[in-house]
C-alpha cells in the first residue's frame, strides 16, 4: 500500500526523528527512569562510602556498625547494577522498534515511487540507505534520547545534595555546568553539518565500490585493475579526511566538557582542602567536615558523568541526523501520479484473458529532455500482438514503461484494462540470489514444480534442467553470473509463461538468443497470444515482428527539441 507521505512532506530531519521517538516514548521513559534510579543508587553508595571513611578517620567507628554499612554498600552496588542493566536494555527495545517501523515506511515509499521514480538512484546506494542509514539510527534511540532525559534530572538532584552540603561548592558546579550545553551546542552544530557531508561521502563510496567491483572484468581486460586500486585508495583516503574533519569537532565537544569537569573537580578538591584547614574565612567553608567534603568530591564527577555520557553519545545524534537527512529526502520524494492511471470501468473487460489498451495523443517527457515519446494514439484488443520497432533509443522502452504505469503521460490519455497484473521483462534480465525455482517463483509464488518445469520448457531450458543434478533447486549468482547472458534472458522470460497476466510487455526478449532458442520462444509467445493475451513487444527481430498483428515504428524524437513522430502501420 502506498503511504500517505503528505503528512511528512515538509518534515525536517530533526522533526522526523522526533516523530519516530514519539512512537516509542514508553521505552524511552522507562530507560531514563531506570537511569535516574541508578544515579540515586550511586548517590547512596558515595554517601555511605564517605560516611564510613569519616567514621574511620574520626576514630569513632564501632566495628559492628561498620560491618552493617559495608553490607549496605554491597547491596546498593548490586541494586545499581540492576537498574543500569534495565536502563540499557530498555534503550535496546526502543531502538529496534523504531528501525522496524522506519524500514517498513521506506519500503512502502520505494514501492510507491516505482522503477521510474528511482531510475536516477543507484540501487546499492538505496540499499545502503535501507540498511546502513537505518542502522545509524540505533545509537540515537537506544542511548542518546534516554540519556538526554536523564541529563535533565540527575545532575539537578546531585546539585541539590551538594548545595545542601555546602552551597559554595554547589555554586562552583553550577558555574561550570551551564557553560557546557552552550559550548556543546556550538560545537554540535558544526559537527552535524560535517556528519551529513560524511554520509553523502559514505553513500558515494558505496556506489563507487559496487560499480568498480561489478565492472572488475572490464577493468582487468583494459589493464586498469591496478590503477583502480589507486582510485579505491584515494576514495577511501578522501573518506578519512572527511571523517577526520567531523571527528576533530565531534571530539572537541567532549573535550570541552572534559575540561570543565576536570577543572571543577580540581577546584572543589582544593576549595574543600583549604576549607578543612580553616583557610577560608567566608561562606559555609568552616562548616565542612570530612564526610561532607569527601561526599562533595565524590559527587562532583557524578554530577558531570551524565553529561559526559551524553557527549559520548553525541555522535549518535549526529549520525542519526545525517541518516535522517538522507532518509527524509527519500521519503519526501513525491510519488509520481503516473502510477495511478485511469482505469476503464467497463464491466465486461475482466471476462477476457487479455488486456485492452487505448492511448490517445499520449506523450511522455523526462525532466530535462523533451519529446521522449509521442504524442501517440493506439488501440489494442485482447489477443492482439503489437511489435514496436525503431532505432535504439527512439523511445520503445518508454512506451512499455508508459503501458506498465511506470511513466506518466504528460499529455493525452492512457487506458489499460485491467491495469494489473502485467507480465514484464526488461532488457536486462533480473535474477536474484537463490535457486532456479526462487527466480521463477518471483512471478508466481504458488507455482508448483511441474508448472516451473513447463515454463522452462517454454523457453527451451528444459534440456539444461535435465542436466542439473539439483534440478530446480540449483543456485544462481546475482545477475546470472553463473549462467550465460542468453540463459539469463530465457530464465527471466520463463516468468512470463508462469504468469496469468492479461498484458505481456517485453523489451527485446530475444536479443541474446540464437535462432533455435528464438524460434522456440516465438512459438511459445504465439501460444500465449492464441490464448487471448495481449502482447506488446519491442524488438528488432523479424521472427518476432512476424508474430505481430500490427507494427508500430517509432523513429526519432528522443533528443533535442524535435518531437517524436510515430505512425501506426499494419504489416
Amino acid at each position: 500500500m502506498p503511504p500517505t507521505p503528505a503528512a511528512e512532506d515538509e518534515l525536517t530531519p530533526r522533526a522526523w526523528l522526533h516523530l519516530q521517538a514519539r512512537e516509542i516514548r514508553g521505552w524511552l521513559w522507562l530507560s531514563s527512569v531506570l537511569g535516574v534510579l541508578a544515579g540515586l543508587m550511586t548517590l547512596l553508595q558515595m554517601a555511605l562510602l564517605a560516611w564510613v571513611v569519616s567514621r574511620l578517620i574520626d576514630g569513632e567507628a564501632p566495628p559492628g556498625t561498620l560491618t552493617t554499612a559495608f553490607g549496605a554498600l554491597a547491596g546498593v552496588i548490586v541494586l545499581r547494577a540492576l537498574a543500569q542493566w534495565g536502563q540499557e536494555s530498555a534503550g535496546v527495545e526502543a531502538s529496534w522498534r523504531v528501525r522496524r517501523r522506519v524500514r517498513a515506511m521506506l519500503l512502502d515509499h520505494l514501492a510507491a515511487l516505482g522503477p521510474t521514480g528511482l531510475s536516477d538512484r543507484h540501487p546499492a546506494g538505496l540499499g545502503g540507505q535501507l540498511v546502513e542509514q537505518v542502522e545509524a539510527l540505533d545509537g540515537y534511540f537506544a542511548r542518546f534520547l534516554p540519556q538526554l532525559r536523564l541529563v535533565m534530572a540527575l545532575p539537578l538532584v546531585l546539585l541539590g545534595v551538594v548545595l545542601w552540603l555546602d552551597w559554595l561548592a554547589g555554586v562552583l558546579l553550577l558555574l561550570a555546568a551551564p557553560l557546557i550545553p552552550l559550548f556543546m551546542a556550538l560545537v554540535g552544530m558544526g559537527a552535524e553539518r560535517l556528519n551529513r557531508e560524511q554520509f553523502v561521502a559514505v553513500t558515494r563510496l558505496a556506489g563507487h565500490f559496487l560499480d568498480r567491483v561489478r565492472g572488475l572484468t572490464t577493468l582487468q581486460l583494459f589493464n586498469r585493475a591496478e590503477r583502480s586500486v589507486e582510485e579505491v585508495f584515494v576514495a577511501a583516503d578522501d573518506y578519512r579526511r572527511r571523517s577526520m574533519r567531523t571527528l576533530r569537532l565531534a571530539f572537541l565537544s567532549s573535550a570541552v566538557l572534559e575540561f570543565f569537569a576536570s577543572v571543577a573537580i580540581a577546584m572543589i578538591a582544593i576549595y574543600i582542602g583549604f576549607g578543612l584547614l580553616g583557610y577560608i574565612r567566608f561562606g559555609p567553608a568552616d562548616e565542612l567536615t570530612l564526610f561532607s567534603g569527601l561526599l562533595i568530591l565524590l559527587l562532583a564527577p557524578e554530577f558531570f558523568q551524565p553529561l559526559r555520557t551524553l557527549a559520548q553519545h553525541y555522535h549518535d545524534r549526529a549520525a542519526a541526523l545525517g541518516a535522517a537527512d538522507g532518509l527524509v529526502t527519500l521519503l519526501n520524494r513525491p510519488v509520481p501520479d503516473g502510477t495511478e492511471r485511469e482505469g476503464w470501468p467497463m464491466p465486461g473487460a475482466f471476462d477476457t484473458p487479455g488486456a485492452r489498451i487505448r492511448l490517445s495523443e499520449a506523450s511522455v517527457a523526462y525532466p530535462g529532455r523533451e519529446g521522449v515519446l509521442g504524442p501517440l494514439s493506439l488501440a489494442l484488443e485482447p489477443g492482439q500482438c503489437l511489435a514496436v520497432v525503431g532505432p535504439s533509443g527512439a523511445g520503445k522502452s518508454t512506451l512499455l514503461r508508459l503501458l506498465a504505469g511506470f511513466a506518466h503521460a504528460e499529455q493525452g490519455r492512457v487506458e489499460v484494462v485491467p491495469a494489473a497484473p502485467i507480465a514484464w521483462m526488461d532488457q536486462r534480465p533480473w535474477l536474484v540470489q537463490g535457486s532456479l525455482a526462487d527466480n521463477l517463483r518471483l512471478a508466481a509464488p504458488e507455482a508448483s514444480d511441474e508448472q516451473l518445469g513447463a515454463a522452462l520448457s517454454r523457453v527451451g531450458l528444459d534440456g539444461l534442467l535435465a542436466t542439473l543434478p539439483e534440478g530446480l533447486a540449483t543456485p544462481l549468482g546475482e545477475r546470472g553470473l553463473g549462467v550465460s547472458g542468453g540463459q539469463a534472458q530465457r530464465l527471466a522470460l520463463g516468468r512470463v509463461f508462469l504468469s496469468e497476466a492479461p498484458l505481456v510487455l517485453l523489451d527485446e526478449p530475444t536479443a541474446n538468443l540464437d535462432e533455435a532458442s528464438e524460434a522456440q520462444i516465438v512459438a511459445s509467445l504465439r501460444d500465449l497470444k492464441a490464448r487471448g493475451r495481449t502482447l506488446v513487444v519491442a524488438t528488432h527481430h523479424p521472427a518476432l515482428i512476424a508474430l505481430a498483428d500490427r507494427v508500430l515504428s517509432i523513429e526519432r524524437g528522443m533528443l533535442g527539441e524535435r518531437t517524436a513522430r510515430s505512425h501506426d502501420a499494419t504489416p
Binding site: 545499581r80 522496524r100 538505496l126 568498480r212 572490464t218 582542602g273 533480473w430 497476466a501 541474446n512 540464437d514
Partner: protein, 576 residues
C-alpha cells in the same frame, strides 16, 4: 559460509595483526596516550581524596590547638596538573587514534581491492556483486574495531589494573594483590566472558545484515518485475523475516552488553569496597595512614573509565571475527592466475591464437555454475583472419574468449598466442594486445568520456569522437547538452541497451588492439544501425586478427571462416 569453523581466533586475526604491525609506532603511541588519560583520571581522584583527608586531619588538629603543617602547594599543583592532563591527553588520544584507524582502513580497502583484481573470471563469477560491496565496506568497517576497540582498551585496562595494584601494593602489599586480583577477574570476564556470550549472535548478525542488504538491493532492482507481477508483498515477506532475525539478535546482544556494563560498574565498585574494607583494617592496625586509606578506594573507582568500554567491544567480537574470516577467505583465493617470473611479451603485429586440446571443467562444488564445460577444443586463429565462432547461447563461446585473454585458465590443454603458452606471457602485455567486447555490457557510473577512455587513457577528444562515429553514436552524443561529459547512469541505465552496447564497442575500438574479440557486438542494436556500424567497422578491422562470438553470422563484417560450438564441443564446418 561456516565451513571453516575449525579456524581459531588466532588464525582469523593473525593476518590483520600483521597488517596492523606496519603502523606499529602509531599504535604504541596511541596506546600510550590512552594509558596517560586513565592514569590522569586515577591521579585526579586519588590525589584529591588524599588531599582532603590530609587537610581534614590537619584541620582537626589545628582546631584542637595542636600545631600541624601541611604542604598545600604540591598537592594543589598535582591536582591541577592531573585535571589538565586528563583533558588534553584524552582529546589528543582520540583524534590521533581515529586518524590511525582510518589510515589503516584506506590501506585495507586498497589492498583488498587489489586482491579482488587478481581473481580469475571463474572466481569473480562465483562471488556476487552486492556481497562484494559488503566485503569491501562493511567488513573493513567492522575490522576498524580491531585496534581501537579490541586491542588497545584491554591492554590499557590491564596496565591500569597493574598500576592500581602496584600503587596499593606499595602502601600495603596484601591489599594491592587482592584488589588487583579482583579487578583482574572482572577484566577477564569482560574480555573473555562477554566475547563468549556474544560470539554466536554477533557473528550471525553480520551475515544477516549482509543478506538484508543484498535482498534489499534485489528488490530495488526488480521493482518493475515485482510490481508488474504483483508479487512485491511476497518478496517483502522474505525481507521482513530477515529483518526480524536481525532484531532478535540485536536484542540478545543488547541485553548481554547491558549485563557486561552492569558487571563492570558493580565490579569496580566492589573492588573499591574491598580496598576500603582491607584498608580500614590496616588503618586500625596502624599499618596505613588515614589519607592513604582514603586514596585507595578512590583510585579504584577511577578504574571505571578504563573498563567501561570493554563490554561493548567484546560482546561484538564475533562480528569482527566473522568479517576477518570472510576477508581471509577472499584473500586466500588469490593466485588463480599465476604469472611466471620469466613472463615474456608477445611480438608486435597481428596475433595468432591457437587452442590445443582445451578442456574446461567448470564443476565447482556447491556453486550453481550452469555454463557447460569445454571439451577437447582445438583450433587455430591465424594472424589477420576473421573467424566467427558460432553457437547457441551457453555453448561455451564466452569461455573460449575468456581463455584467450586469460580471464580463466584451461583445466587441461593449452592456449597459445604467437606460439607461446599464454601462461608464460605477461598478463598485462597480453591484455593490452587483445580487445574483448564481453557479452555483458559493463559501463561505469562516470562520464561518457571517462568510460570511453578506459580503452585508452590518453585518447584525445577527437579520438573519442572518431570512435563514437564508428559506432554511430556521434550524432546522438553531439545532441546531448553536456556532450562527452554526460554522466552515464547506474551501469548505464540512462542509456538504452543498444546504446550502452555501442559505447562498450567504442571503448574496444579505442584500445586499438591487434586481436579483437567481439561477443554478440550488435545485441540490442536495431538492424539498420547494426548494418551501418558493420560497414564502418570493416575497414577498421583490416589487418587485425578477429574472433566473433555470435549465434548467427548476421552483420558480422568480413568473416573468412566459421566454427560451430555445440555443448562445449567444436563441430568443425569449413564453409557452410
Amino acid at each position: 559460509m561456516q565451513r571453516r569453523d575449525e579456524t581459531t581466533l588466532n588464525d582469523d586475526f593473525r593476518p590483520w595483526l600483521r597488517q596492523l604491525s606496519h603502523r606499529q609506532r602509531r599504535l604504541w603511541l596511541g596506546a600510550l596516550l590512552m594509558v596517560s588519560t586513565v592514569a590522569a583520571a586515577i591521579g585526579l581522584l586519588a590525589l584529591s581524596g588524599w588531599f582532603i583527608t590530609t587537610t581534614a586531619i590537619a584541620g582537626a588538629l589545628l582546631a584542637a590547638g595542636v600545631s600541624a603543617s601541611v604542604d598545600i602547594y604540591r598537592p594543589g599543583a598535582g591536582i591541577r596538573f592531573f585535571a589538565i592532563a586528563r583533558t588534553v591527553s584524552r582529546y589528543v588520544e582520540r583524534l590521533y587514534n581515529h586518524d590511525t584507524v582510518l589510515r589503516l582502513l584506506a590501506d585495507l580497502r586498497a589492498s583488498l581491492f587489489a586482491v579482488l583484481t587478481r581473481l580469475d573470471g571463474r572466481t569473480l563469477g562465483r562471488l556476487r556483486a552486492s556481497e562484494w560491496l559488503n566485503r569491501l565496506t562493511a567488513d573493513i568497517d567492522t575490522l576498524d574495531s580491531l585496534y581501537l576497540r579490541l586491542l588497545a582498551p584491554p591492554l590499557v585496562a590491564l596496565l591500569a589494573i597493574a598500576g592500581i595494584g602496584g600503587l596499593l601494593g606499595i602502601l600495603v602489599p596484601g591489599i594491592g594483590l587482592s584488589v588487583g586480583g579482583l579487578l583482574l577477574l572482572v577484566w577477564a570476564w569482560l574480555v573473555v566472558g562477554q566475547a563468549g556470550l556474544g560470539m554466536a549472535a554477533s557473528r550471525r548478525r553480520v551475515a544477516t545484515l549482509d543478506r538484508l542488504r543484498s535482498r534489499t538491493i534485489e528488490q530495488i532492482e526488480g521493482l518493475a518485475e515485482l510490481s508488474c507481477y504483483r508479487t512485491l508483498s511476497v518478496h517483502r515477506r522474505t525481507l521482513h523475516d530477515i529483518e526480524q532475525r536481525l532484531y532478535d539478535d540485536q536484542r540478545r546482544l543488547g541485553r548481554r552488553q547491558a549485563l557486561g556494563s552492569a558487571l563492570a560498574g558493580a565490579g569496580v565498585s566492589l573492588a573499591a569496597l574491598l580496598a576500603l574494607w582491607l584498608g580500614a583494617h590496616a588503618y586500625i592496625e596502624g599499618e596505613l595512614s588515614g589519607p592513604s586509606m582514603v586514596l585507595m578506594p578512590l583510585a579504584v573507582l577511577a578504574m571505571n573509565e578504563a573498563l567501561a568500554v570493554l563490554p561493548g567491544a567484546f560482546t561484538h567480537l564475533g562480528a569482527t571475527r566473522a568479517s576477518a574470516r570472510r576477508l581471509n577467505d577472499l584473500a586466500a583465493s588469490r593466485g588463480n592466475l599465476p604469472e611466471t617470473s620469466d613472463a615474456t611479451v608477445p611480438a608486435p603485429g597481428a596475433l595468432e591464437v591457437a587452442l590445443q586440446g582445451v578442456i574446461l571443467d567448470y564443476s565447482v562444488p556447491g556453486a550453481g555454475n550452469l555454463a557447460p564445460a569445454l571439451e577437447e577444443v582445438s583450433f587455430t586463429l591465424h594472424a589477420g583472419q576473421r573467424v566467427a565462432l558460432l553457437g547457441a547461447s551457453g555453448a561455451g563461446k564466452s569461455s573460449v574468449a575468456q581463455l584467450i585473454v586469460r580471464l580463466i585458465d584451461p583445466s587441461r590443454g593449452q592456449v597459445r598466442v604467437n606460439d607461446r603458452d599464454v601462461r608464460t606471457l605477461a598478463l598485462g602485455a597480453l591484455r593490452s594486445r587483445v580487445g574483448y567486447l564481453t557479452q555483458h555490457t559493463e559501463l561505469f557510473h562516470d562520464s561518457l568520456a571517462a568510460n570511453l577512455r578506459l580503452g585508452r587513457s590518453d585518447a584525445t577528444d577527437e579520438a573519442l569522437w572518431q570512435a563514437l562515429e564508428l559506432v554511430d553514436l556521434a550524432d546522438w552524443a553531439r545532441e546531448l547538452p553536456r556532450g562527452l561529459e554526460t554522466w552515464v547512469g547506474e551501469s548505464g541505465r540512462q542509456l538504452s541497451g543498444g546504446q550502452a552496447r555501442r559505447v562498450a564497442l567504442a571503448r574496444v575500438i579505442l584500445a586499438d588492439t591487434d586481436l579483437v574479440m567481439l561477443d554478440e557486438p550488435f545485441s540490442g542494436v536495431d538492424e539498420a544501425t547494426a548494418e551501418r556500424i558493420a560497414a564502418r567497422l570493416d575497414p577498421w578491422l583490416a589487418g587485425r586478427t578477429v574472433l566473433y562470438l555470435a549465434h548467427d553470422e548476421a552483420h558480422l563484417p568480413g568473416v573468412t571462416r566459421r566454427l560451430w560450438l555445440r555443448d562445449g564441443r567444436l563441430a568443425d564446418g569449413r564453409g557452410h
